[in-house]
Symmetry: C2
Subunit: 206 residues, 2 copies
DNA sequence: TCATGGTTTAACCAAATGGTTAACAAAAGT
DNA sequence: ACTTTTGTTAACCATTTGGTTAAACCATGA
């Protein structure tokens, strides 16, 4: 029975992820999730006591993967520029793989900041460096030019994440101008971000 | 009666805007809106037949103002660089004034792309130029260096809008790193965007 | 084989919620 | 004054929805 057990649990989580991602906490219906998973609604409550617990599971998982990817730059063996480049690369690839993740996080965080706060604290506890500390360090020891690290962080995240967050908007904008915006643009996007990083973090600014 | 009439309608719209912005279409409850407006729930249905109509009113209004601000660059008397700078400036100021607008649009668009599509078509019909066409023009006549206008558009919008969209996330990130992220950063943000525009649109690239 | 315990379901329940009705209030027209 | 129109409300209704219950199902070990 253990086999089947783990299986349905995973199936439920996948279904819940899909539905929650699409509809959010309020929009999602337990029945929809049950249908998606191909099981009875009561079974949802058997595995995850209620809607919030199920949501928490999905949400927590998403957050963990999110931060996991955000914290990869702590590798001190590489120059900071290199780390930031890899970091943004992985960030974009991560978002490309889970396109709804970003918007999902933002949706839910904006309507339930408290939960997010707690989860982050739990996850960040065991992480040593954040991009911010790394940047500050680099500025102080002269590896980076002097710049406002918070603004840079904001800019960088904007360039990486917004294209996925606002994909629906852009599809319409581009469409109505006769251009296409699809996955083939990821490479161009990455190039422009690399360009930005080099521009901002090179010691030889103009 | 005309006086009171217009008044309650406006009150309802304000209340609906507030609640819808915060909770979205699904999350918002008619009762909440009625309470916020200080009136009976039935009165909502008296003025706006049902929830969707009321939502449409709020949503349509938001969209119109949004696009109104996005289309100001059509002033041909100015050099393109100037126009783009003003454009991004106004964009940021607009979002600063309606911080939830962007996230609201994204939320609703992502769960109801069709409506958005229609509304945009209706609004864009009477607009002559979009940022894209202006950019393309500038590239062709040599006023701008050769660059991918779609990617630039994406980058620019990202830099402007994401800080507002992701404000909740950033507040937590910054907080857990001991930094502050509040309105005082708008100016820094604007500077960094100006810098980006100059970097990208100057003919004298490095 | 059959008792046991985890798994799954159909049927049900109570609360929430969008929407309606009928009656009342207040202004405007006559 | 009184009739009509417009604005407003309390009470109500039907449906949806999260959650529960009791019974059935089924693999496994005694």
């Amino acid at each position: 029975m253990k086999l089947k057990d783990q299986n349905t649990e995973a199936i439920i989580l996948d279904a819940a992820k899909l539905i929650f991602m699409e509809k959010g906490l309020y929009g999602a219906r337990m029945q929809d999730i049950a249908n998606q998973a191909g099981i009875n609604k009561a079974l949802l409550h058997y595995y995850f006591r209620n809607k919030e617990r199920l949501f928490d599971e999905v949400f927590g998982g998403a957050l963990e993967r999110y931060f996991q990817n955000m914290e990869i730059i702590s590798d001190e063996s590489l120059p900071i520029m290199e780390r930031v480049l890899t970091y943004s690369n992985r960030f974009v690839h991560f978002l490309a793989e889970y396109p709804q993740m970003s918007i999902f996080l933002i949706k839910e965080i904006s309507s339930n900041q408290a939960l997010f706060h707690l989860k982050v604290k739990g996850i960040k506890k065991d992480k040593k460096y954040s991009l911010l500390t790394v940047l500050n360090e680099g500025i102080q020891n002269g590896e980076l030019p002097s710049l406002d690290p918070v603004v840079f962080l904001m800019n960088l995240h904007s360039l990486c994440a917004y294209p996925f967050v606002a994909a629906p908007i852009f599809q319409v904008i581009c469409q109505s101008s006769g251009v296409q915006w699809d996955d083939s643009n990821h490479e161009k996007l990455l190039n422009s971000i690399s360009d930005f990083i080099h521009y901002k973090l090179s010691k030889t600014r103009i």
